[in-house]
Symmetry: none
Subunit: 279 residues, 2 copies
DNA sequence: GTCGACATGGAATAAATATTCCATAGCGGC
DNA sequence: GCCGCTATGGAATATTTATTCCATGTCGAC
């Protein structure tokens, strides 16, 4: 066979589909089957083997290999890589980003900004997709009927905590920000009927963990805003809200965390003013 | 090793997470790293190799294998099969999900969250489009050579200010957060060679405006992060960074402001460490 | 009907990937 | 400080999976 004209491999899903449409009409039977099956099952490419897809299409593996090459890939693996990379909605190509951060000398500040904007955007989208609505409603329930809402978050969680405290204050909801000023221990301020919102991300601050455990031990409900279900504060939480935030080493965008926090605050405000109006 | 008690391999994602939560606390260092990374990246399991995940977690592949077995799987492949099988249920794309959340109705937390997420996203996109690169570079220039960086922002700008202070601290850059604790006036701390980052939005806090004017009068360069070019601090600023933040209700998302702030901080950190290395 | 060009399937091979095993390092109890 | 345990990293091996190659089949042109 003469070498194909050097068709570049598609580097986006859109390019892939365009190429698929382009070549399909001229394909012989078996390759046509491949094209049809692949077109109808693009979502399986990332998680299947050649053998599985070939079986699904009703062709031998070698036919599928030829198909991949006709599309422009060197083989199946290259095609699969395209789909796997694109699947990682929420954190595409972490390695590239870290490199961008390191190579700031070469890049401009606005390139750096673009990276953080992108990280924030993806964090927000992931939050919308993955938010646990049930947990959110449970959290609101606890906070709406709390006497005093304690808010705790240190280090990188502190901006979130302070924003929550600000929002509660604006809405005339009794809230106390545990900020560690003067190394005072505010934990004695927790009383029956109160509630605690704790925000912490790995590496988890020991103050926050201790406060959460103290609250849980006293029966004060804890709303935990954290990164994973295995966070040390997850076990003590009455409502566990995990935030899928894209993280560059030390710096997380906080976009998703803040969006969740402010939604929570406003929902609590609404619930409370409803109660007040009614009562 | 004696055979483990026959722990059945989790057969759903939920069972997997439950098992993860159960075993994590008793895990030694390396295996804990596996658990943490896996918990934070469950979505990558289906499309990654052992080697990739192990690298992400910062452990050798054999550690990750042990981890899989502790969870109850025969090995990595079995764990991956669970995630690949569950992968098919295509996640709704962002637009669809957003619509679903919004349709939850007026006061619901989900609907609020959808609005705040969308506000944040639009703010970020607007920032990427409209950022004043020249001003950003000027700001970085001033901050990179400042002796001490003062950070001021009150009320709703305070989360941004505190995040900046945190970021600077992480990078060993001398910075002082003017937080108004104890109503002390830190303005006497401004010295020649310092710089000030001031963040304020309408209605502009008088403390911030006063601090900016004081700094400008002494020749201390001011980096202003604000909402419009007619902000009261715009006139005194050496570098004016306006952030097109979309408000929803009474609260601003801060997503764009934080993205800008963290970019600024990292750029300054890079510029400074470059100078140090060179000097 | 024969020839040639292309398509096809399957088996052989190459490559990637998972998995096991073992030597050693670290840590706690004595 | 020594002993025994567990954790660990890396290299060897097994397994799976992708890829190539070739013998055979199919179809159309003459």
């Amino acid at each position: 066979m003469v070498a194909n004209p050097p068709v570049a491999a598609p580097d986006t899903i859109d390019a892939f589909e365009a190429r698929l449409v382009e070549v399909t009409p001229s394909l012989p039977k078996r390759l046509r089957q491949c094209a049809d099956y692949i077109a109808a099952n693009t979502d399986r490419i990332a998680v299947s083997t050649v053998a599985e897809l070939a079986a699904g299409a009703g062709v031998p593996p070698s036919a599928l290999m030829r198909f991949c090459q006709i599309i422009g890939f060197s083989g199946f693996s290259e095609m699969q890589r395209l789909f796997r990379d694109n699947y990682a909605q929420g954190r595409p190509d972490y390695a590239t980003r870290l490199r961008n951060l390191r190579e700031m000398g070469g890049g401009s500040a606005s390139a750096l900004l673009a990276e953080f904007v992108e990280a924030g955007r993806q964090s927000l989208e992931a939050l919308a997709r993955e938010v646990d609505e049930a947990a959110l409603n449970i959290a609101i329930g606890h906070l709406a009927k709390a006497g005093l809402i304690h808010v705790a978050g240190f280090r990188r969680a502190y901006p979130v905590a302070s924003y929550l405290a600000y929002a509660f204050e604006k809405m005339d909801i009794p809230a106390l920000l545990h900020d560690g000023t003067g190394k005072l221990d505010h934990s004695h301020a927790l009383r029956d009927g109160d509630a605690l919102i704790a925000i912490t991300f790995a590496p988890y601050s020991s103050e926050t963990v201790a406060l959460v455990e103290g609250a849980a031990a006293r029966g004060v409900p804890v709303v935990a805003i954290t990164d994973t279900a295995i966070s040390p504060i997850a076990g003590s939480a009455a409502a566990l809200l995990t935030v899928p935030e894209v993280d560059f080493g030390a710096f997380r965008s906080l976009s998703a965390t803040l969006a969740l926090a402010i939604s929570l605050a406003v929902a609590v405000g609404t619930a409370r003013s409803g109660d007040t109006a009614r009562g």
